[in-house]
């Protein structure tokens, strides 16, 4: 279990992280979300021990993160780096060695990752000769060759084309199924929504909201009610609900934002009474909606 307990970090006069705290259970997939400059990368670096928090503590399996525990961590940084002249196989092998792997197990694992990522034909070529997408696959292999207990991925989908993004997603799902604890940051909300079991949204270096998607949705104060057909009678009923606000219409439907505790069954009965309702939906807030509200850019 990873326990991040009220950490903060300053760089000179800049307070990069003010107060971030969360707990991640073993095998969970955790989305760390926030706008640019929110403190995600700094938080990840502190989790990995690259930076030391100025205050607060980080514990992995109830012990402070030390170099020996870091051997069980993997990291895919946002700024991807690679030894251009080193062969793909040697590069993955080197990072395996840095995490304590030795032959014969090392070679087996390196070969398995090369095969898993479809890098077989490039295995003995210098990394600089690979496309950007394939280089990112090599970087993922470097981060995960030692089967880490905790894998931290900073913007793993950035720069990937749709095909490679799907491959990345599939591999992360495999790691998740194996029980690897994943910490991800991404601006691709739909991918995180699909992958993660819990989230923490940070902004300005501090926690805004955290929890599972269900918990975050439950705490969300409004719902979008989507009704078809879109006509005056329907609009009159919807606007009569206390706290209702019209939202942008969509595909012949009328959308209204309503308090989450609205009696939607009673509302449907009222609508049926005034119009031939063909569609009625109380849309759960998406992660995107929750994110925008948490960082203060939406109601």
């Amino acid at each position: 279990m990873l326990d991040v307990d009220h950490i903060h970090k300053e760089f000179g006069t800049v307070r990069a992280v003010r107060d971030v705290h969360f707990r991640i259970d073993d095998g969970a997939t955790f989305g760390l979300i926030g706008p640019n400059g929110a403190g995600k990368t700094t938080t990840m670096r502190m989790i990995l021990g690259i930076l030391t928090p100025d205050g607060g503590t980080i514990r992995w399996n109830n012990a402070r993160v030390r170099y020996d525990s870091r051997k069980h961590f993997g990291y895919l940084p946002e700024e991807r780096g690679i030894y251009g002249k080193m062969k793909v196989r040697d590069q993955i092998s080197y990072f395996g060695k840095l995490h304590g792997l030795r032959d014969p197990g090392l070679t087996t694992r390196v070969n398995r990752w090369i095969e898993r990522l479809g890098l077989g034909i490039y295995a003995d070529r210098p990394c600089a000769e690979l496309s950007k997408g394939n280089q990112q696959k090599v970087q993922l292999a470097c981060a995960a060759v030692h089967d880490p207990q905790l894998l931290v991925l900073d913007e793993p989908f950035s720069g990937l084309d749709p095909v490679n993004a799907d491959i990345m997603l599939a591999i992360l799902n495999e790691l998740k199924a194996q029980g690897t604890t994943l910490v991800l940051s991404s601006h691709q909300m739909w991918q995180l929504e699909e992958l993660c079991t819990s989230f923490c949204i940070i902004a300005g270096g501090e926690n805004r909201v955290q929890g599972t998607l269900d918990q975050l949705r439950s705490a969300f104060p409004t719902r979008i009610v989507r009704v078809a057909p879109s006509n005056e009678a329907v609009s009159n009923v919807l606007s009569a609900v206390s706290g209702a606000q019209q939202a942008a219409p969509m595909n012949g439907c009328v959308d209204y934002r309503m308090p989450a505790d609205t009696d939607f069954a009673s509302l449907l009965r009222s609508l049926v009474a005034v119009a031939p309702v063909t569609r009625f939906e109380a849309v759960e807030p998406s992660l995107h909606d929750i994110y925008l509200r948490a960082i203060g850019e939406a109601a």
């Binding site: 670096r45 170099y67 870091r70 940084p77 780096g81 304590g100």
Partner: protein, 406 residues
């Protein structure tokens, strides 16, 4: 930590020993050494050897001159008076022709040479001086030679060497070793620097420091650099030995060649050789650690020169001070500078090679320089930890200082 250091060390060693700059440096060094040891002989051969001469003159005169000239020159032929032309020299494979004539005031010598600069007038005059005196005094050449050959014995006072010749030879070898020290420290420190800069600019640094302690990363790199430098040194010494072996001895020289392994161990004691390796290691670790730390602050490889250039100045200064110290190893300035970190390894080694340095001075120098190395490693570790993750605008000196103080 040690495991990480060894992993980084072996990867770095294998990566760099196969790298183009290292191989090119090694080859250029070997070529340079071979040229240094072989070129004089090759150039000499091409022009018949600068000491190969023909002696021209009346048989009575040349018969008296040739025994005197033989100690300094390789006399190829004795010729009757005749005009000297290029074909004459070529025919006898000689670099010069000494044309001797007897006059009222003694001897008159005309030298015809391919390279007039290589024919020292003083040397010619010294060689033929007994003949000149014989002609002007009426004594025989051997009598004059005996008269002028009065004993001169140089007695060493608190000197390491039994003779002036040995002192000269050791100075020559020490000079060469100091130059090796300079090249090895500077070139291999630059290679460590390039490696750090490559990892920083290729952005792989963050991945590395997430996997290993930055100090182990830096340590592994520097140790690999030290071992690579030692490999380079051993190959260069072997090249010098092979290059020197079999090359024709300078005419009139007692030794086979100046820089051979046999000579090296004849004249340099094991203590001096050990001192060379110890001071090489200390010097290399000091310089390369500073270089590596500063390289971690750059964002573009193009900036590498501007960072390492100023840092190389003390090393260049150390080379010149050490060469000076070979002549006056006990001068106050040599003693003082042999304690100053970064430059001390060069100067203390120079002093040890050519004089008896008191043990307390060697001990104090080692102590000061090891303490300096420890401080450099601590400060460099701090700079490296921060520098490797620092992108964007290059930090100001005040910011670097605040990192060191933190």
């Amino acid at each position: 930590m040690i495991d990480d250091l060894l992993t980084v060390f072996s990867a770095e060693f294998m990566r760099r020993i196969r790298s183009r700059p290292y191989i090119i440096g090694l080859i250029i060094g070997i070529i340079g050494i071979l040229l240094f040891t072989r070129l004089p002989a090759l150039v000499g051969d091409a022009f018949g050897g600068s000491s190969s001469i023909v002696v021209v003159g009346s048989p009575a005169l040349t018969a008296r001159a040739i025994p005197l000239l033989k100690s300094d020159y390789d006399v190829k032929a004795e010729l009757q008076p005749q005009p000297i032309t290029e074909p004459t020299l070529k025919e006898y494979d000689a670099a010069a022709a000494f044309v001797l004539t007897s006059t009222k005031s003694g001897l008159d010598v005309n030298v015809y040479a391919h390279d007039p600069g290589s024919m020292g007038v003083r040397q010619v005059r010294r060689a033929l001086m007994p003949l000149q005196l014989a002609l002007t005094t009426g004594k025989s050449s051997s009598q004059v030679k005996n008269i002028t050959n009065f004993p001169v014995d140089v007695k060493p006072v608190a000197s390491k060497f039994s003779s002036a010749d040995q002192a000269e030879l050791v100075r020559g070898i020490a000079y060469t070793l100091i130059f090796f020290l300079y090249i090895l420290i500077l070139v291999n420190s630059q290679l460590v620097t390039s490696s750090v800069a490559e990892e920083k600019t290729s952005r792989i640094a963050e991945l590395l420091v997430a996997s290993v302690d930055p100090v182990a990363l830096l340590g592994g790199k520097i140790l690999a650099g030290a071992v690579l430098a030692l490999v380079q040194l051993c190959i260069w010494i072997a090249a010098a030995t092979l290059g020197g072996h079999g090359s024709p001895p300078p005419h009139g020289s007692d030794s086979d060649n100046v820089f051979s392994l046999a000579n090296l161990f004849d004249v340099l004691t094991p203590g001096v050789v050990v001192a060379f390796f110890i001071f090489f290691l200390i010097g290399f670790l000091q310089v390369s650690t500073i270089f590596a730390a500063m390289a971690s602050l750059i964002n573009r490889t193009e900036d590498l020169g501007s960072v390492t250039g100023p840092l190389a100045i003390p090393v260049v200064a150390a080379l010149f001070i050490a060469i000076g110290a070979l002549g006056t190893p006990d001068a106050p300035w040599a003693v003082v500078t042999s304690f100053v970190p970064i430059i001390a390894p060069f100067i203390m080694f120079a002093r040890i090679a050519v004089s008896y340095v008191p043990f307390w001075q060697i001990g104090l120098s080692l102590l000061v320089n090891l303490a300096a190395l420890y401080l450099i490693a601590v400060f460099a570790g701090k700079i490296y930890r921060v520098g490797m993750l620092l992108y964007g605008r290059a930090p100001k000196l005040s910011q670097v200082w605040s990192v060191i103080r933190s």
